[in-house]
């Protein structure tokens, strides 16, 4: 079943088309990779889907319902949540408070504090941060801050999770752990779109990959198809 359908999505910054006529669909339960050189429009695409930006043309359907033009908090409550490329946590709040906020406000309906606390605890345990429960999130290392962000997103109980460069800046061991985490999230029944530059991760865990360049979708396919595609190799390595 299609969970997300993007059609002719276009966004101009001044005269520049940051995203131009992008179409794609996401099937429920898959991990979709989104790659492309810097400035290709990957994060802009995320911004358009999550409601940070309003598209100039095109539309986004989430579970068959049009969500483009809605405010980010509404989209989140519908079950579509994202993380940020430059990790955005609440540094002076405890890890628990960070995640609790997601549970309190991100769910489709208002939930009681006690219930939200349970959801938050579960999400913190799931990403493996129970030991840091009461520490200010800002005092954690980068990899753990990213986990806080993921836990906070999970606490909103999403159906579709968009991860923006979750593995950037991590060492090889941490990348391995992050890949494990992404798979475990998918196993919870959450569909994932991930922007990533770490090719090893993308090729290993994504079922399907979309390649963006200059705001346009230039290729789409399985990891094998993408890694052998002539256009993709040209873009990444030059002609």
């Amino acid at each position: 079943m299609q969970i997300l359908h993007v059609e002719g999505l276009t966004k101009y910054f001044g005269g520049l088309a940051a995203v131009s006529g992008v179409d794609f669909t996401v099937e429920e339960g898959e991990i979709l990779g989104l790659i492309g050189p810097n400035g290709a429009g990957k994060t802009t695409l995320f911004n358009l889907i999550s409601g940070t930006l309003v598209p100039n043309a095109g539309k986004v359907l989430f579970k068959g319902e049009k969500i483009s033009g809605l405010k980010p908090y509404v989209i989140c409550r519908k079950g579509l949540v994202r993380t940020f490329q430059s990790c955005k946590i609440f540094p002076e709040m405890s890890v628990f408070q960070n995640v609790l906020l997601g549970a309190l406000f991100g769910a489709p309906e208002n939930i009681a504090w006690k219930q939200a606390a349970d959801v938050a605890e579960e999400a913190i345990a799931f990403v493996g941060l129970s030991a840091f429960h009461d520490l200010p999130a800002g005092s954690l290392t980068l990899v753990n801050q990213k986990r806080v962000e993921v836990a906070r997103a999970l606490a909103t109980e999403p159906e579709l999770l968009m991860l923006d460069e979750m593995m950037a800046g991590l060492n090889p061991t941490e990348v391995g752990e992050a890949m494990e985490l992404v798979k475990r999230i998918r196993d919870r029944g959450i569909t994932i779109i991930m922007i990533e530059h770490v090719m090893k991760a993308i090729m290993n865990i994504c079922g399907r990959i979309i390649v963006l360049d200059h705001g346009k979708k230039i290729a789409e396919g399985t990891p094998e198809e993408i890694s052998t595609s002539k256009t993709v190799i040209e873009i990444y390595l030059g002609e």
């Binding site: 999550s50 940070t52 405010k71 980010p72 908090y73 989140c76 409550r77 949540v81 994202r82 940020f84 430059s86 990790c87 955005k88 946590i89 609440f90 540094p91 002076e92 709040m93 408070q97 609790l100 906020l101 997601g102 309190l104 406000f105 991100g106 769910a107 504090w113 939200a116 520490l135 200010p136 999130a137 800002g138 005092s139 954690l140 980068l142 801050q145 962000e149 906070r152 997103a153 606490a155 909103t156």
Partner: protein, 328 residues
């Protein structure tokens, strides 16, 4: 450590109850001048606490306190004779609440310095529009106010202060208090985890202004005559902001202590050193900002920490925000 924390939990409510009780009986034992002086302190406490309820948590520096205060003053000037005192005070609050809703809806999409400047200019705008209206349409500048005795004003302010402290306490304990803090911490992230940031900001702004308006409504009865220049004096915008910084942002005690000490200091300086008052005052402010970035309360906390922890604690340091490698 744990036990001292548990005791500290009970100390604060007890101290507050004792303080309120003391404040309630003070007028029976002191001279009228002191009551008027305490009245001024309470007024600034309300303004400062209200200001920090919104600006202290969300990080949006509002300089429109004078607009809400003036709205309260003017409500009394025009409705004072027609309404009983409690109703009049509430009306002042409602006027300010409505004004804040309107201003919030227009301005809270602005960020940082733009928001501060817009709120500042709104005070001036309202002042000039009212002035024009009175001169050209009404034909009379300003309005007489029916006086209420100082002790009554004092008690009304005390009640407003108690209600305000209670409101802040309840908000801080609730999910909305946490959400307001998250807006101050990283608004973009807050918006993406399901928090209606614009709605929440506007509501918090209006609630804080409600109390400012009530303070204005009752303070008007201590004046004989009000015109737009008296009512919308920009000092009512600047002082609460300065007082909150002076006392320390971040918790409820800072603005409270800041407003009280600041008002007291100002009174002493004005009466004893009326020529050098601004000079001394400015120096104190500069020194505060330079050396006490977390205000009087921050200073007190540091001293308390040094007294209660004899040896430097080893291990993980957990000071918030220090190592944050985030974009917010």
């Amino acid at each position: 450590m744990k036990q001292s924390k548990r005791i500290a939990k009970y100390i604060l409510p007890v101290v507050i109850v004792l303080l309120v009780a003391l404040m309630a009986v003070v007028p029976f034992f002191t001279d009228p001048y002191k009551v008027v002086f305490l009245r001024t302190i309470l007024m600034f406490v309300i303004l400062t606490l209200s200001w920090s309820l919104f600006s202290g948590t969300t990080g949006y520096t509002s300089l429109a306190t004078a607009a809400f205060y003036g709205a309260g003053l003017y409500t009394t000037a025009y409705l004072g004779e027609k309404l009983p005192l409690p109703l009049m005070v509430v009306c002042g609050g409602i006027t300010a609440f409505a004004l804040a809703l309107l201003m919030g809806a227009i301005t809270l999409r602005l960020k940082g310095i733009y928001f501060a400047i817009f709120t500042l200019s709104s005070v001036e705008l309202i002042k000039q529009v009212l002035h024009w209206y009175e001169i050209n349409i009404v034909g009379v500048r300003g309005h007489y106010v029916t006086r209420v005795n100082d002790v009554t004003v004092y008690y009304v302010l005390l009640v407003i202060t108690v209600l305000l402290v209670l409101t802040i306490y309840l908000i801080k304990r609730s999910r909305y208090g946490l959400a307001l803090n998250s807006i101050g911490s990283c608004e973009e992230a807050a918006a993406h985890i399901g928090i209606n940031v614009v709605g929440l900001k506007i509501l918090a702004y209006a609630i804080s202004s409600f109390f400012i308006g009530m303070a204005g409504a009752i303070m008007a009865t201590g004046m004989l005559y009000i015109d737009s220049y008296v009512a919308f004096d920009l000092n009512y915008s600047f002082f609460p902001t300065l007082m909150a910084i002076f006392g320390g942002l971040g918790n409820i005690l800072g603005p409270l202590v800041g407003a009280a000490v600041f008002t007291y200091l100002r009174e002493i300086l004005i009466t004893k050193y009326s020529y050098h008052y601004m000079l001394i005052f400015g120096t104190v402010m500069v020194l505060t900002i330079l050396y006490l970035p977390s205000g009087l309360i921050g200073l007190a906390q540091n001293i308390w920490k040094k007294l209660t922890t004899p040896a430097p604690t080893k291990g993980l340091k957990t000071e918030g925000g220090k190592h944050a490698d985030t974009s917010c």
